[in-house]
Symmetry: C2
Subunit: 346 residues, 2 copies
DNA sequence: CTCCAAAATAATAGCGCTGCTATCTAGCCG
DNA sequence: CGGCTAGATAGCAGCGCTATTATTTTGGAG
């Protein structure tokens, strides 16, 4: 048949492509591509006419095409338990700011403290051929580890340090936090200690703080320490509730550390209602240094984890690895430490 | 010449592709692709052998290739002022949960309250050919609007409702919040009203609440209302500071509304220190119903914005639009309302 | 049995960009 | 001034998948 088959009606995208830009700038697509990837390799004259063409056409690059061709994208995937949690929100925000400077995008995933979901999130993340993957904590399923190893994507584990890491890590030792809280209370002359924790069965890091707390306390002669917990997520209400239980079970308690500041604030509120003097009769130490902690009455002694620093350093490690891959893995484990802020409640 | 040029040594990805799966399942790549996109169109026998092949090869699809071919991705981009802000963190989390059910991924961008940055974020977002874009608030630059219009990507504006929306919107009217706070205080017999606000110059929504507050109050005979503000981000410390200024400038104030609960908590703390009885001498109303608001002492009367509902509904609108595009735009503007929670502080 | 529509599967032609190479140009030395 | 080299620019061949069309297989009806 002379008549050619009707041409395929593939959606003929009217999208502006790199070729349109090249045509307008009277250069080849290669050069335009180079302009984006290695601006220095393009002459000033070419750069200028390309910039003009981009401007005129309002060109928006297609990062998916670029990622496909380059077999890797400018996306960093991060998996956190929850952004509802101020700690991780802080880290996510700081990290994004840092990554943004290098025009790296962030894709976010939540486990909502269900560790089992992590594998699925990692799978999805890998579908985007990310430049790096950031995971919270150190405990990951075998399948997750294998996926990541096979993919060869750089991995950063954040918010927790331990004996072994998959690749890179930024965080601190949670047992040391417990240790610091216990030491501080003991130093303040407290002998009957309690750790009040929310959701310790799911929040492993909080559990490690609790463990570090009692281990430290019990090593010191004449000191007692127990853990009281509640399965619900941390909130001031849970804190108030936990204090009630604490006073019921251990009436002579005089030093309390909390899994976080929400719990501690609840303890303070409840003590106000019950007429319990803080710190005279009871010392309270929190964890988190949340927005209200310095302003409460009494102000709250607490341990401040450097959430923003963690985000920033994680971003830096990633940038160092993927952008300046020339040098060798300088430092791949960063201990950010934490700070005990001694205020009125202890 | 006879000798063929040496074959290009293109990085021969050892990645498992859809072709490997097809080969192993003894089917064509097309069928495997169909299996992912329209599982019902594939026979049970084929489905099973494909599933087995995927399992055996540990196949991870390349979403960038898919997105490129389909000219659209399963990514939803969301731009919020900051995830450090609990309101938006809540929305982001809820939205992600809802989107996740449809295997839609979320890409996050922050403006950090710099509206000027929005355009860049939208540009980057569009580079990923997202299935939809979610923006916070209603005020966007002309360039941003044009970019979005040209791209034809569905847009959802959240957390604010007003006279006109670009496409879809989910939120509530902030002036109504101010109105509700003022009405409530008046109803509680308060006549000398103040609105304490943080960062009103950047946080337009808070500014609208303030505006609604004074407009309502001033319409009522015998009532006075003023706004006092501080340029720093909201925190309990700023709240305490603002109360100081308030008492200095308006010693007989007896009703205070705050731009959010952090400020209100600071007011409560400061009143405790100063020995000002709440609510006897001073009524306080917050905004946000943050984690500590119900537990504080006195508990805080506040207005609760449905952050999670906003996220959920926004996700639903998006899903309805892109997945079941058959039906016509049912409802594209959703007023989620808000709730005044009357507690002890008023 | 044959025929035919419906169901299932396969073939084809890109999506828009990048990573090599190859080619071209300008600058500089002897 | 020819010959070289480094610096710019261009050409080519996919990246891994999807949408569309084409083909084959099924399963009844006649």
């Amino acid at each position: 048949m002379a008549a050619p088959k009707p041409t395929r009606t593939r959606r003929k995208m009217q999208r502006v492509t790199i070729m349109d830009v090249a045509a307008r700038a009277e250069l080849s697509p290669s050069t335009v591509s180079l302009y984006f990837r290695k601006p220095d390799a393009v002459s000033a004259a070419a750069s200028e006419s390309i910039a003009r063409a981009i401007e005129a056409l309002d060109y928006v690059p297609n990062l998916m095409a670029g990622g496909l061709a380059a077999a890797s994208s400018r996306v960093v995937s991060i998996v956190v338990p929850s952004v509802r949690n101020a700690f991780f929100a802080e880290t996510v925000a700081a990290m994004q700011e840092e990554l943004g400077k290098q025009r790296l995008q962030m894709m976010l995933g939540h486990t909502e403290y269900k560790e089992h979901d992590e594998e699925g999130l990692v799978r999805t993340a890998l579908s985007w051929a990310p430049a790096a993957i950031v995971l919270t904590g150190l405990s990951h399923s075998v399948a997750t580890r294998r996926l990541l190893r096979d993919s060869k994507v750089p991995v950063v584990e954040i918010w927790e340090l331990g004996s072994q890491t998959m690749d890179m890590a930024v965080g601190f030792h949670h047992d040391q936090v417990g240790h610091a809280a216990a030491s501080h209370l003991v130093q303040r002359g407290r002998k009957r200690l309690l750790f009040l924790g929310a959701r310790l069965h799911e929040d492993r890091r909080a559990a490690r703080r609790a463990q570090g707390f009692v281990e430290t306390a019990r090593k010191i002669p004449d000191i007692t320490a127990e853990i009281i917990q509640h399965p619900a997520p941390a909130s001031a209400e849970v804190g108030a509730m936990l204090l009630g239980e604490a006073l019921h079970r251990f009436p002579n308690v005089n030093g309390i550390a909390c899994s976080n500041d929400h719990i501690a604030l609840g303890v303070i509120f409840e003590c106000q209602r019950l007429g319990i003097a803080i710190p005279d009769r009871l010392s309270v130490v929190g964890f988190g240094d949340l927005s209200f902690s310095a302003a409460s009455n009494p102000s709250l002694t607490t341990i401040r984890p450097p959430g923003d620093l963690i985000g920033k350093e994680a971003a830096r490690l990633i940038i160092a690895r993927i952008l300046h891959s020339d040098g060798e893995p300088a430092q791949t484990v960063i201990d950010t430490r934490f700070t005990l802020l001694h205020r009125q409640s202890s």
